[in-house]
């Protein structure tokens, strides 16, 4: 973003759109620059946890953990979209002719404090779950954030696991 008055220059760095790291840089003439990075908060910068059966939810859920670091902005608004899909299988080698069907989705915004704790995005949100089943589970999350009117690039992270998620 470049304003006509030449006071603000902002860039969304597409090279950082790896699914784990997005970066916005905002330079404001005569004021402190802004630089925010939002990344997966799990080991290795990963954001996704493996789907599992939650008794409280009554079925499969997964979470996406994201934290933001930097300076020049106290908070950012981050949109997280999640999708949980399933294909039945007898074992991890049973890979022929699989059709994945959506079991759960999520799509919501949260405010994240820069240099604060990680925010958790659940898929699905409360009062829903992804059911149960033995087979391949794919969970994917996509996210981007806004800070000071600037929108970051978009990335996503996906996991596939053979899991037996059964009611307990």
């Amino acid at each position: 973003m470049t304003r006509e008055q030449g006071l603000e220059v902002a860039t969304a760095d597409a090279t950082k759109a790896s699914g784990n790291e997005f970066e916005i840089q905002l330079t404001r003439a005569g004021a402190r620059a802004m630089h925010v990075t939002c990344t997966g908060a799990n080991t290795g910068g990963k954001a996704l946890a493996t789907p599992h059966y939650s008794k409280g939810a009554g079925g499969a859920i997964f979470k996406t953990n994201i934290k933001c670091t930097g300076y020049g902005a106290a908070t950012v608004r981050l949109r997280g979209q999640g999708l949980l899909s399933f294909a039945s299988a007898k074992n991890s080698n049973d890979t022929a002719n699989k059709t994945f069907r959506s079991r759960a989705t999520s799509d919501y915004w949260q405010t994240i404090t820069v240099n604060g704790p990680a925010k958790t995005f659940y898929t699905p949100q409360e009062n829903e779950h992804g059911g149960v089943g033995k087979g391949f589970w794919i969970n994917t999350s996509t996210w981007y954030f806004n800070a000071a009117g600037v929108t970051s690039t978009v990335g996503s992270e996906t996991k596939i696991n053979f899991l037996s998620i059964v009611k307990r």
Binding site: A49, H52, S54, G56, T111, I112, T113, L163, S164, R168
Partner: protein, 85 residues
């Protein structure tokens, strides 16, 4: 761990009766979530965990709610065990 002496006035609020969250994790990855209120102190929580774990690993957290921007937010602060569900 780093321990250092501090002036106690860097904080501005105290909650002497917080809410706890305990998640039991079975070996097969199933989570069972509990919310504990009206708790005497953390020792009572750990005693309850010992009585109810049945061989499962337990995630013990403090629950804290605050206003994040214009949005109500509830954070789990891990005290012991793996990450909560």
């Amino acid at each position: 761990m780093i321990a250092r002496s501090v002036d106690p006035r860097y904080t501005n609020e105290q909650d002497l009766s917080p809410t706890y969250r305990v998640d039991f994790w079975s070996a097969d990855g199933v989570s069972e979530e509990w919310r504990l209120t009206d708790v005497e102190d953390v020792h009572e929580v750990f005693e309850w965990v010992r009585s109810n774990a049945m061989g499962r690993e337990a995630s013990v957290c403090l629950e804290f709610s605050y206003l994040s921007g214009e949005q109500d937010s509830t954070i789990l602060l891990r005290l012991s065990g793996p990450a909560p569900a």
